[in-house]
């Protein structure tokens, strides 16, 4: 029984790991960084690349605030090690808009007031983009099911579902109302 609780649990023990030189492809740009092997993709984005749009809400894969796209699929970046995602195409919230032109789902989030504090929002939007692409935005019930990995403590779920439904209907025409 250890006599103390550290705030964060270390991921390795023993001798100091040597830093690794890696190349991360994020939003179409290659970044050469030297990271601790224990560094998560989320911490690499936030602490090394200063791409702080991906949020840390738990570090445990439970809240979804850190969701990014990896080769088009949504993943919890807090559960991915940076050194293991070399060569993958990573898209974060910063890479969604085309210059000043917001992604349709970003615009729908503003229009629908699908957030309050905004902290879960980047993860919700990234997850929502994938949810629509996957064809999982056919009904409010389906959206709720496939967005269940993203928590919102402000309680904006109704508006989040509406924003995703609006965007799905506008972009695919396949979603059913309800």
């Amino acid at each position: 029984m250890p006599g103390s609780i550290p705030d964060a649990s270390a991921q390795t023990s023993g001798a100091a790991p040597a830093p690794l030189d890696i190349v991360l492809r994020v939003n179409g740009t290659e970044h050469r960084i030297s990271v601790d092997p224990r560094t998560t993709l989320l911490d690499a984005l936030r602490e090394h690349l200063h791409l702080t749009g991906s949020k840390k809400g738990c570090g445990l894969g439970q809240c979804g605030a850190c969701t990014v796209l990896m080769d088009g699929r949504r993943v919890n970046s807090c559960l991915s090690l940076a050194a293991l995602v070399e060569g993958r195409e990573i898209t974060t919230i910063e890479g969604l808009a085309r210059g000043e032109q917001l992604h349709a789902l970003q615009a729908a989030f503003i229009e629908r007031d699908a957030f309050q504090c905004g902290y879960c929002t980047p993860g919700q939007i990234i997850s929502g983009v994938a949810c629509i692409k996957e064809g999982h935005a056919g009904s409010p019930q389906e959206i709720r099911e496939w967005m269940s990995g993203n928590l919102c403590r402000c309680g904006a779920y109704d508006n989040i579902v509406a924003a995703i439904q609006d965007t799905a209907q506008a972009t695919t025409g396949s979603a059913q109302g309800g």
Binding site: A8, A10, A16, Q116, D158
Partner: protein, 707 residues
Amino acid sequence: MITAVIGQPLSRIDGRQKVTGGATYAAEFDVPNVAHGSIVRSTIANGRIASIDSAAAEKAPGVIAVLTYRNAPRLAYRKHHGTTDPSVGERLHVLQDDRVNHQGDPIALVVAETLEQASYAATLVRVTYAPESGATNISRVKLVLPTQDQTDQGSTPPPDRPRGDPKGALARAAVKVDNTYVIPRENHNPIELHATIAAWDGDRLTLWDKTQWVDGAADEIAAVFGIPPENIRVISPFVGGAFGSGLRAWSHVTLGALGARVTGRPVKIMLSRRAMYYGTGYRPDTIQRVALGASREGHLNAIVHDAYHETSTYEEYTEALLAATRFLYSCPNVYTRDRLARLNVHTPTWMRAPGEASGVFALECAMDELAVALNMDPIELRLRNEPEQDEFKKLPFSSRSTKECYRIGAERFGWSRRNPEPRSMRDGRLLIGWGMAAATYPMNFAPASAVARLLPDGTAEVASASSDIGTGTWTSMTQVAAEALGLPIERVKFTLGDTRLPKTPPEGGSMTMASVGSAVQAACRKAREEALARGGANDLQEAMRRIGQPVEASVDSKPGDESQRFSMHAFGAVFVEVAVDPDLGETRVRRMVGAYGAGRIINPKTSRSQCIGGMIGGIGMALMEHCGRPTQWARHQRQSCRIRGAGARRCSAGHGLDFRRGARSAREPAWGEGPRRAPHRGRRSGDQQRRLPRDRQAHPRITCHAG
């Protein structure tokens, strides 16, 4: 002429930043040369540190410093009680002695070059304890009255002084109900983890902090370090939710500043989700007996509301638990009492609708049970007990919208189709329940300041130190300013979240629009009048062009004597449909309608989001959230801190945050404490208790009517 901007459902001004990742929260400021701090916490609830060995941690790669009570500088800890601190007791002093006050009490701080190095080195700190017996079970301690009752902003008479003869009236009542309502501890759990970055420049400190009150954080840390508050700048433009947890500057803020001072480096501390249960407050475990006595016609003639809740051993946390009971209904005989159970836990704090949400829950459950006992419609029962005035303060209400809220809510919900007979409504095999409750929250108003600066190009900069914790302050203040200035909204830039801006009260207690909004409005009006007078024009743009230089006006606004003349509250009514599986007890909230009379609505869009967010918070509090009680296996459960429940799926409009595995350890018994004994004698027997259930599913469709 500019059309009115107040009352327009404008989208959030900060929306673009929030949807693009451009909003910068506390831990995200790019402070050069920043080091990372990781906090080590105690595993006992009460006792002393017998030994603490940081040698291995100090030798670990990247470690700059390991601070414990043995080597940490002694801090001033000047006496300071901000308005959000308990007025009785003394805050935790961190790393000042070998004392352990609660499970998760900070006992060491590791500062290292990287987050990974700090986190790892924190696991190398070895600690042994001299544990002492402690109390973590609310049922096993002597209950005490608060030293100084603060439950009604200090204006309350002694907490156990009755109105009329409640005991006698209850004994004589034709119909009575008498039950106990148990609310388990609930954590705020904002999605953003609490975080602070501290950087010293000589004797001046900058804190980028997650806070609901930049001025309060500066005052507290100034008192801790014994420096003038003016030496501290707190920056907090975005807050990723707080729900009350950001109203005090907790010990991790002190530790960040301490680490930065010792190492000479800026230090960043971001709490883990687990640590959010150890030192950022919570809604306390609260146990309430409510006895109501009424005539057969449903007129209340006795209310007894006798409560107790947990607090720490070092501070007396009290909240407005009983405030609404004293005025919500007309009743000549009322007894209210709130007592404290002092436990070896960390201090609870304000959590969304602090006090009122807990107290009204018990009172409104009791009213429903009385309605059943009387065989009377719950709305009719409430209407029969509408007071003419606040019978506690003996003041007229500034407004009282309960009747309208009942009417509009009932219409929207379809209340008239309700069959009041218990177990009479079904959907297939599911039992359907329709229920309603009144809601109320006081109209708080505190002194606040703002500055408005008109520029020659016809734009304006308006500023106040306030926060936007998701409430929409940024947007609504811009609307207030634009209307007062008579400028289009895109010409007005509002700034907040910085101690360099004019002082404000905390963003809490639903007081921001009344307080800060009044200051913003007054500053803008003053600037406009001055500009028009100086420029000699009726048109502001023309006046500013003529003046050719900025015109600035500052205002310190404060409440008048309204609170001496009126009892001021917002009111509401909430209607809910639940489906209950008769075999499994699974409960789903299927729809919910809220009607609120909350004064003048500045922005219907963000206000609606606030109302719905509050209703969803209520679902979570009622059905899903619970910070576990101490159990024999708590220590092992702690190892798997995970979020229970779900978000959008199980709770279509609700949320399902429930970090209770991790939370359980916060109520872990101290070493040597035996199994639980029988409930405290002050409590009713189990079958008469109404516990907030948990692990139920919610699936609501929520609508809200605010006005």
